[in-house]
Chain length 450, copies 2
């Protein structure tokens, strides 16, 4: 029997935070000066700045530019300790979290902020064929596949004098899908062109397959239209009302139609982290925990659910699962605990929406600005706003500086970024060169060795 | 039957270079202006600046700081194409290289520069338990193990109030072993201290096990002594004449003696790349190709062997397998081809030794300077020379700038570097807390899941 790794001492209150994303980090920072003991538990050693993860995937930035060890982020917080472990169960009656290591963490307050993960709508076998983008490892795997596709085409061109088209398919037209598609098109057109002798990387085709009637469905309609226009300028084809029915090595199926794909990426759906279910409180269909205006699940004022894992309704709409609300929920949970300690009544959480934005390759973006003024921006102005906001919100001066510098190199000097292929460097075997075969065999990087 | 991917056209001579390390890149640059067609083949897409790889392993630098896509390095060379593939056979009579993909590359001149790999002296099962340092993936794996060791100790301390000693064992006291050992000690003492609440990272112990009578055996004796002194100041124990007889999860054996090791690293031996054997020409015991003063194996003036793979004797001593001679051999091979084309006689290769150096943690190093003056340096002066030389030789202004900046942050501001754990984040299971068990069970990160 393992002892409790974190105990309620009876003295200061013990706050256990699960998850070191935006919500968890903000909660920890909000608790830093309070007379409580804080334990931040994450199964990874680093916080990831997810809004820029697609730039790691497309080789503009390095993982270390956008990820920061959680220990360093909170190392100034005297009352906070960090534990690398994973929650696998929660005993609400005993106020205990069971950890994957076998140990137990006791709490007076629990902040659950373990976020969301990809949803393949029950088709988990697609995960291997169409990776999504949530972690640094996801990003390097996507980078590996995209860069290897060009290498493979060059090699096939050398031998056969021809290569199957470089089709990249992105499933899902939300912000991540749009950003991935735009960035693939960008690197093919701008950065890879001078590196290859036999293929023309600029001929790569990128297609977004979106199930609903428009991409960026969470944005105002005029910005969706602008996004489609700007994607078209980059040569990205957008197909809406298009439901993928199967993902196979080398192609995806849309009903009877077969769409060849050298690399397929998944940006179509997210579901709540499994911890939502483990809490055994009411959740929505995606597994997000239904919380009240204090971010508590029903009947548990000592538990706060924050970030993507929380289902918060405001003015009849669900607060979106993006960075800003997560940060604000983390802040709020810390404030509620402070009010408890001070004997003050709790206050309701209210999401203050400053706006939302998505980049579309280099020099283009769409932005719905809500604060400090209201505007719908697109093109270069939106992109500049995007740059400034993202530099500002990066954690750590070192990273802010590093990303700024990388962007200057990449966007203004067009030097290559972090175009390293790591992990398996294996390319699928050589194709025979008789013409029929060369035409038949699709380039296929959807089946890695792992 | 696969067609030839690279053909001799009968017009310009075709030079095939195998390997994009120091020798291969220098050869390609030397051939850039000649009327030849060059094909540079490497199984990886990037050149690695190996002298700084240990800094990636110990989380000071990121992989992209010291690796550069081969395509970008030679993208200005109009006569050069890059192929991502692996040579698996050489038909010297037909002047053809068989590639792993199944294709064939024909050559008029062949430059073989595929370097060396770890040698576990026939105990290949040790590779999993004690990784060596040759590639970017090796470096991130070593980083993963070293950083996880501290996480695991912290977790065990939290539960049990005690943890087995953080012993790191480096097998081999050459430059790589010394640099790894010094750097582990450095990060434990300088950078990790403020991040942990329950363990004292500074109590980590690092031991170098060297089989021969002294470390840095290729250096003058006074510098070996200085190195031992400087390592001792960092708390690194050096044991010479110490032959490891077994490597096991959690410990290594030296005869009957058992040395506990949370992480074991291998820096003990290298052997030639398998291509040495495939050439079917005379090699030495480590598989290095015996070449004449023109870097040709006997009877093959059209084949040049360069870098670590070449066994070159000069003044009765073997030219060492480090970066400088590799660069010079690559240059030389290109010059010999130029002389052939110009109808001039070939000249003998002569290694111009400017010296050699190894760092020992932050602010210390040993350097044997041969040019532009002769000196044996140690301590801070040697370290400053080391910094300047390594910045200068990094390929690409971008990388030079990036590494310089990282070093300023790390060495002068003590901010954390790239302390990301990627890949498997799994820690070994929790230990039971009865005292006997806590004392008995060693921390063990030697058995990763892969």
């Amino acid at each position: 029997m393992a002892a409790a790794v974190v105990s309620r001492t009876g003295g200061r209150k013990r706050v256990v935070i699960l998850g070191g994303g935006f919500a968890g980090i903000h909660a920890a920072q909000g608790l830093a000066k309070l007379p409580v003991d804080v334990t931040l538990i994450d199964r990874r050693n680093h916080h990831t700045f997810q809004p820029l993860l697609y730039q790691v995937a497309l080789a503009v930035l390095s993982p270390a530019n956008i990820a920061q060890p959680i220990r360093s982020i909170v190392s100034g917080n005297k009352n906070t300790e960090v534990l690398m472990d994973e929650a696998i169960g929660i005993d609400k009656a005993a106020r205990q979290v069971q950890l994957a290591s076998g140990a137990v963490a006791e709490y007076d307050y629990l902040i659950v902020a373990t976020g969301s993960t990809h949803s393949y709508f029950g088709r988990n076998e697609w995960a291997r064929l169409a990776p999504g983008l949530k972690t640094v490892e996801d990003a390097t795997e996507i980078r590996r596949r995209v860069l290897l596709a060009f290498e493979l085409a060059e090699r096939q061109m050398l031998e056969c004098g021809t290569h199957p088209p470089l089709n990249f398919v992105v499933i899902g037209g939300g912000p991540t899908g749009v950003e991935l598609a735009g960035a693939i098109s960008d690197i093919a057109k701008l950065y890879m062109r001078k590196d290859f002798r036999h293929i023309d990387p600029a001929k790569a085709r990128v297609t977004i397959l979106e199930g609903s009637p428009r991409i960026l469905a969470a944005y105002p309609e005029d910005l969706s239209r602008r996004a489609v226009e700007q994607l078209a300028e980059l040569g990205v084809e957008v197909r809406t009302n298009t439901h993928v029915t199967d993902v196979q090595p080398g192609h995806v199926m849309v009903g009877e139609e077969r769409i060849n794909a050298v690399v397929t990426l998944w940006a179509a759906g997210v579901q709540a982290s499994p911890l939502g279910k483990l809490l055994e409180v009411p959740t929505d269909t995606r597994g997000c925990v239904l919380v009240d205006s204090h971010l508590n699940p029903e009947g548990h004022p000592e538990i706060f659910v924050c970030g993507d894992l929380a289902h918060v309704e405001q003015d009849g709409k669900q607060v979106p699962g993006v960075a800003q609300p997560a940060m604000q929920m983390g802040d709020h949970a810390a404030r509620e605990i402070a009010r408890d300690l001070a004997g003050k009544p709790r206050t309701a959480f209210r999401y203050f929406d400053k706006g939302d934005m998505a980049t579309i390759g280099r020099k283009a973006a769409v932005a719905k600005v809500e604060w400090p003024f209201k505007a719908h921006l697109h093109g270069l102005p939106a992109w500049v706003v995007w740059l400034v906001v993202h530099i500002f919100f990066l954690i750590g001066f070192r990273n802010r500086f590093a990303v700024f510098r990388e962007w200057v190199w990449t966007y203004f000097f067009f030097t290559d970024g972090a175009r390293l292929i790591t992990g398996s460097q294996e390319l699928p075997g050589w194709h025979d060169c008789d013409e029929a075969d060369a035409r038949r065999g699709p380039l296929d990087l959807n089946s890695p060795d792992k």
